[in-house]
Amino acid sequence: MNRYAVKLAIRHLLAHPGQTALLMAGVALGVSVFIFMSALIGGLATLLTQRTVGSIPHVVLEMPDRDPSVLVPSGAAQVVLQKDLSRRDQIAIWQPAVPIIEKTPGVTALSPQIRGSAFVERGQAVAPVGVIGVQPGKLSDIADIDGAMVDGTSTLPADGILIGSRLAGDLGLRVGQVVRLSSDRGRARSFRIGGIFSLGIASADRQAVYMNFTTARALFDLPTGISRIEIKVQPATDAPRIAAALRRSTGLKATAWTEDNSQLFEGLDAQARTGTIIKAFSLITIVVGIASAMLLSIVRRQAEIGIMRAMGASKGLVVSIFVLEGTLIGLVGAVVGALAAWLALLPLPPVSEVRSGGLPIDRAQGDFLLAVTLTTLAAMLASILPARNAARIDPVEAIGQ
């Protein structure tokens, strides 16, 4: 670093404090927009992702679909394959897969489940439900049932079930009441309603019934196997990659949440692209602003540049002075803008506490460092061309001799 170039660049900036401050304020504004957009787009994505994938599994492991093997030798015959429905879909040997899944990077929780269809009957009222048999300690590993309880407790005794608030409303059910459940395997028994939850997802609140894993085995006539393993991963957007890894390591069919929610994913993607475009425009504005300011500064200092060149200053020194000048404007403006944005975003609540109508701004996703780095680099690049012009100034013309 040429210390003399740094000194002269600083002197140039301090010589016109008002103009320098105005330039830096412009850069700061651009950086604030950059950070605000990052925090908003990131926060919005987090909110939508939280709301959408917060209560659903990120990866589901099931038995792969079985196709019947072709017994006829290949030849001219036309072969029609039909899905084999002769056996139940179950993961018969699932325990060895559990440690493999747990050790997979990104996996935060897993829940082996027994699932089946049933009817809830109370008097003359009947409603179809989806029963989820979970291990009691893993009740809230996928959907936060504990946090969603609106009545009763979330414990799962052998004769207890948890039902959703909409189902309770439809059938007029309350905690402590006994209902009868008839499974699609032809088995039926009575259960006491231990608690009522409200996840805020209509389908779950109307149709999901949670019960003890062991009880579900008996109800669905599944003595050893399980229906599926549900998995949570962090971050949720890594689900496709983790699903692929699990598919390889367990041999099971692994479905990431993104496959069933591709529209949301595309929406988030489009939103992120929009944010990138807005951020790019704020950077372009900074580049144009700094480049034009540097060109003006160079025109004003033409005679000075000429005299320095006449006194033996190299072209490299002249380039360094003006590139440093632009870079300093970018750096200081960016730091001030980042600081201002940080202070402005400080009082805003975290995304998880945003109320309806509020802006879901996530300060942690503000890309403060990226904004400062990119702006400084952009400012440096914006100064290079004007600085090279400055170095080409003919000293004889510039000093009018």
């Binding site: 140039h12 006194m311 200053a313 000293p395 004889v396």
Partner: protein, 228 residues
């Protein structure tokens, strides 16, 4: 003339423009200067004085002829080599002081040395102080040019020209913008430096009074030396 001149030019020509619009400003200059010489370059406006000084100062290339200084062929040196040569061996004083407005007098005097070295050093500061002292501006060291008089600025410019201990100082109408008293002060200063530091000066001027204070005079007319 000495066998070892500090510079010599021979058959030097300079043309501006091309084709029919070509203007020949220098038409074959043969000139050499000895170390420690103080020479006045006289001639009417348009005679080519400033162009000759500019070429001798390596700020412009001649169109033809030869130009050598301290054994270096400056006609064929690259731009970077000429810049470095200028920085090490030449000093300039212009009609207008051309001090940098954002630097103090001391910083302005140090500028050519600092620009070459990439930083200001204690030794530079000390030499700049000595030079400011020599030109009678020691008490103005922290003043910006805007806070100094015309004569003071020009004396600071003379001090700046000397910071790299040049062999030759090229002065183009150094007193042209000054009143008689300030002009005399600057010329006294130049003569004193020429005597004590043995620095050569080539001073372009219209003023016979200035020329009379130099040891040698060269007269230029229409791009030719008519008296040397």
């Amino acid at each position: 003339m000495s066998a070892d001149p500090i510079f010599s030019v021979s058959g030097l020509t300079k043309a501006f423009g091309e084709g029919e619009g070509e203007v020949l400003v220098l038409r074959g200059i043969d000139l050499a200067m000895e170390a420690g010489e103080m020479t006045a370059l006289l001639g009417p406006s348009g005679s080519g004085k400033s162009t000759l000084l500019t070429i001798l100062g390596t700020l412009m290339r001649a169109s033809g002829g030869s130009h050598a200084m301290l054994g270096v062929d400056l006609m064929h040196a690259s731009d970077a080599e000429r810049t470095e040569f200028r920085s090490r061996h030449l000093g300039f004083v212009f009609q207008f002081h051309h001090l940098l407005p954002d630097l103090s007098a001391l910083e302005n005097v140090m500028m050519p040395a600092a620009a070459a070295a990439g930083r200001e050093t204690r030794a530079m500061r000390s030499r700049a102080m000595d030079l400011l002292d020599a030109v009678g501006l020691a008490d103005r060291r922290d003043y910006r040019p805007s806070a100094m008089s015309g004569g003071q600025r020009q004396r600071a410019a003379v001090a700046r020209a000397l910071i790299n201990n040049p062999v030759l100082v090229l002065a183009d109408e150094p007193t042209g913008n000054l009143d008689r008293q300030s002009a005399d002060q600057v010329m006294d200063l130049i003569r004193s430096i020429n005597r004590t530091m043995a620095t050569s000066f080539l001073i372009s001027t219209h003023d016979e009074h200035i020329a009379a204070q130099c040891q040698r005079r060269i007269e230029l007319l229409d791009g030719r030396i008519v008296r040397s």
